[in-house]
Amino acid sequence: MNVKLGIAAAVSAVFISAQASTAFAENLNADLLVSNCVVCHGDDGISVGSTPSIDGIAKDRLVAMLQSFKDGSRSGTIMTRIAPGYSDAQLEVIAGALAGN
């Protein structure tokens, strides 16, 4: 198993270096991506605290919001610092998953 994992790591490292322009291979696993959001916005985007809930927002609208945080056209406290860390494809996956809840 370790040998196989070593190969997997080497393969993904090659893949990453081959994508120098975008820097990294994209992981589009929706569960993992959304799991980063829930620490502030709650399970399925339903907040149990003073942070805004982000469930039930139409996908296109949520993508537009995330993109506006990413390009800086929308102000915020921390989302302007977080959204640029995700690729456009990843933001689409996140918005789709949250819209579906």
């Binding site: 198993m1 370790n2 196989k4 994992l5 190969i7 997997a8 790591a9 080497a10 393969v11 993904s12 490292a13 990453i16 820097a23 990294f24 291979a25 992981n27 696993n29 569960d31 993992l32 991506l33 799991s35 980063n36 829930v38 620490v39 502030c40 916005h41 709650g42 399970d43 907040s47 149990v48 605290g49 003073s50 942070t51 406290t77 921390i78 610092r81 977080i82 959204a83 640029p84 860390g85 995700y86 990843q90």
Partner: protein, 425 residues
Amino acid sequence: MTIKTTRREFMKVAGAAGAVTAFAVTGCASGPSGSGPRVVVVGGGFGGATAARYVKKFGPDFRVTMIEPKSSYVTCPFSNAYLGGIVDLATITHNYSGISAMGVDVRQDTVMSLDAEAQTVTLWSGAVIEYDRLIVSPGIDFKWTIPGYDETSSELAPHAWQAGGQTVTLRKQLEEMDDGGTVIIAPPGNPFRCPPGPYERASMIAHYLKTNKPKSKVLILDRKDKFSKQGAFMEGWKKNYADYIEWVPATEVGTITNIDVNTKTLATEMDTHKADVLNFIPNQKAGAIAHKMGLTDGDWCPVDLLTFESKVIPGVHVIGDAAVVTGMPKSGNAANSEAKICASAVVQLLSGATEVASAISSNTCYSLVTPDYGISVTAVWQGTAEKYAKTSGGVSPADQSDGFRANEAKYAHGWYANITADVFG
């Protein structure tokens, strides 16, 4: 003989958490739900509890067992707010019923040994638990290197860097201190759990003093020349605590040579500092269980960054503060993020995958300067085999409005409510 010793050790741990009466449930465990692969999680903090929940989320039929000596967990996040009098102890104390409710077998017990060949762990109760993969979230332990300061004497000058009894002691000492007193905080050297933590603590203690004992002050005697969110903290202190907080960098403090917990005196090679309340925070290493299991190389646990599998013992994964995760800080949110990536990898590997894609991790860390003045540092990282490479993030910008700072304070509470629900259910 060995058994008697270990029993005493266990009782000490359980007793410290006020949990002695509850360990009888150990023998009554009904076992985990499901019929799939067996994943055993050691540790019930931010890393372990998250891992247990997310293995079950990603692999609903997996049989998951979580082993943790304490019946409930007091979080380090918001323990500074407790010291400042903003939240009570109940708010930062969590039990494991939400994890049991998912079908995880939560065992209040202590791992005594690991047999990596047989893929078993043996517990204090005598139970031998088989695993297909083991996830260990050991947390931190302390390096008792300063003469006069060890595990026993630390009760009088509490580090309070594992939340619980010492956090309560420290609060009590602050309450009992006369107005006009000096609270000395001595933050650890790198690397350590929660890099902004000592400075949030200084802020929250200053808030308590300013409100209740306005002739008192906080003196920070550092073992570093710079610290996390330094600019944002300094701006907040200047605005709110100009007469209350003094920070002295390591080059001016000099080497700490001795601590007397009775007189609350901290001696350096060039000076002695007398405190009324002394909060010395020792340098750190991986939690004791990691050393006992043989997962360490030096102070910490080296891991594969895509799967968090130990580079020392195959089939065993290490997450959280104890793991060497290049690029990421040692924090509760980082442990939570690592636990999810690890849980996903473990479920994939036990479902026949031979490779695991790299993942994105994230960390959001708020600090309260006052109850209405919050600051944060955030980061998003792309995992690679070599390191977690930052793709965005940063500290709260300078010169913001009162409303901006108030929002960050408000969202700090929101973060706490939601992440603890994510960790503990």
